[in-house]
Symmetry: C2
Amino acid sequence: MLEVCLLGTGGMMPLPNRWLTSLMVKYNGSDLLIDCGEGTQIAMKCKGWSPKPIDVICFTHFHGDHIGGLPGMLLSMGNAERREPLTLIGPRGLERIVRSLCVIAADLPFELRFIELTEPFQILYLHGYRIEAFRVHHRVVCYGYNLVIERQGRFQVEQAKMLGLPVQYWNPLQKGREVEYNGVIYKPEQVMGAARKGLKVTYCTDTRPTQSILEHAGHADLMICEGMYGEKEKAVKAKEKKHMTFQEAARIAQAVRPGSMWLTHYSPSLVRPEQYLPEIREIYPYIEAARDGMSTTLRFEDGEEES
Amino acid sequence: MLEVCLLGTGGMMPLPNRWLTSLMVKYNGSDLLIDCGEGTQIAMKCKGWSPKPIDVICFTHFHGDHIGGLPGMLLSMGNAERREPLTLIGPRGLERIVRSLCVIAADLPFELRFIELTEPFQILYLHGYRIEAFRVHHRVVCYGYNLVIERQGRFQVEQAKMLGLPVQYWNPLQKGREVEYNGVIYKPEQVMGAARKGLKVTYCTDTRPTQSILEHAGHADLMICEGMYGEKEKAVKAKEKKHMTFQEAARIAQAVRPGSMWLTHYSPSLVRPEQYLPEIREIYPYIEAARDGMSTTLRFEDGEEES
């Protein structure tokens, strides 16, 4: 199961009662964060979570409201006695910017590893997550992310028996390793069924609607999407500032049909985002105006924990 | 009158319901801040204040919990359309550190001016404040501050009449300017009485008790003081980490006798600071365990607004 929590829903600046937009997911003991603005570590503590198990932080881009909380988060991870390396992922320039911010967080007791995205679309495998980064369209280079938990097919017991493989060889094959028995090499694909539907969360903020979103956001169980303005009249401003209105987000939902869409990254001027829901639900019904700390647990479709 | 608000009371890291320690004072339309940790701009908004009128930010030292909120604060000042220069004051290295943090706050629409403290004691006059910086003793170079509103003496009407000065010359003299009348130069000190008691706020956190505090904290109307630990048993830890216990702060109060002392900069482990008040009030009665947003208004002793 994949736990998902949108720690905050604000854009531009943190407000009393509205943390900056940041996503936390938890899978199999490994936490992953997307963006870390000023106050994100507090929002995390409000949920009762420690920053210690965060293995990966992905950055959409380097505007202050998306990365300004990183030095404090790193210091708190150090205070929580993290010693394992932390992987940071983001657009080109990531290491230079993080090193610059870390002028006040030197001597961390764990290693920082940097992965700078250079292609329009990249896939990374880390800590059980398949992370797909796709470039979107903002005032600076910006990426959206798919967080995917893959799920292999079922082990085909009959097939294994037919091959004459003793039971002690089944488990390594199921875990993806080849085995040798009686001088013959057996590969996992000989005994595993077709891959089953996994879990997918799509996250994209700070962007205009793009072809890349339509290409990569399909089949998401949950899509967390930029919705800076609720008012239709702000379409011009959204275009100018390279953001999106609720209506534009809803059109994307209509095209890529996520299990549900949560709108976030609200302008400080947007005080009651839920008031615009009735009209945009006419475009796509499964849309929510997210609230700070909004959470869900995604489970494989048959409810099983392990594949 | 001088408005004083302790925006937060935490040390080390921001917590849900406890902002990091930061002091905001307002005098004559000019705001001054001491320290700016992660979340300080939110604490300020909780009070209903804009960051725009801040003319000076003083830094005690450069640990992350005292300066990590600066980039976000600067961005918000820009968004609030500040165009006037902002003066930053702090230990040597200030400009290098602020420039490094500002990798995510480039292109601010106002100028940053830097004053780096190099002496054990320095006095600066800015925006109606007399700012006295005195070096204290922490793990890194750290300063305490006195914020003083000076108050000149009363205008001596009888004296002016005796000198035969016509009324139209009185106001410039009162404002500190010399005047010439009938070929004779008159100086303000010829018609002004002795300086009267002004207002003084002393601020010192992140330090052991020092001789410099005893020397410079005298006659404060309000002293805001480091109090990381309430428990007497933590005296050893306080010494090791270069902080203070409530008891140590109370001994300072006993020596310098402020109008009142507010304790702050609590360890995250200190959950109920007020429980230690009875015992330390036996050392000095006018001590409070500060709470986030605690405020007071200091007035000249005769209640007059203008001197």
